[in-house]
Amino acid sequence: MRTFVNWLKTPQWSPYVGGTLLGLLSILALLFTDRLLGASGAFENIGGSILQLITPALADNMYWNFIMPAGFSFGVMMLLGVFLGALVSALLSGTFKWRTISDDQWVQIFGPSRWKRWAALFFGAILLEYGAGIAGGCTSGLAISGGVQLAPAAFLFMAGMFVGGIPTAMILYRKRF
């Protein structure tokens, strides 16, 4: 028991351990909730709800009524759980820190400008969500949840992800790639 608690508190697990656990979580989630993991869809549910509040007419369409219904969905609740789970994990392992730039590598390459980092987060996130909308899911909702069901879409998505990501990293990092 004590070793188990200590293991829960270690700052880092091997990606193979993490992957195995997430695979098991996917199996249990499908068995007990008939659902699989997802993340990007929840932002669309929340976005739809906000749009309904501001301009109900604009939100009254196929997309937010049927494809990605607005409201407090299963996915939104899961997203809340993801935030809390990661927070507790970081707090217990003692790696939790308040930072305006979340990573040392960013500072080394792109400098300490906070706005530069936040702009990259903002515009990068728009592309992420837009791309996920076109493809039909994100790394969790499509690549992992589709992948565990051997859906061809998941593997096409992952191929596209690297085709987009590698040149972007090359352009951003230039000689330091």
Partner: protein, 93 residues
Amino acid sequence: MTALLPALFVGLVFGWILQKSRLTQYSTIVNVFRFTDMSVLKFMLTTIVVGAGGIYLLKDLGLVTLTGTTPTYIVGNLIGGLIFGVGMAWAGF
């Protein structure tokens, strides 16, 4: 609201695993595209191998039904993934 409690629980474990595997870090995400840290790929493919094995076993035993997966739409899946990859390398999510 109580119907959503399993979702909260699944999310908690999901977030915990992501944090422990350093997938919440900018450097882990971007370095897979620089080939300097392949954690993202190791993590995702391990998940798929373990998850697919278990899910198809349970499916053949008649214990689970697959969720309606995302339809195969080659251009959409690829182009969507491509745009997603640009955002991923830029923002580091």
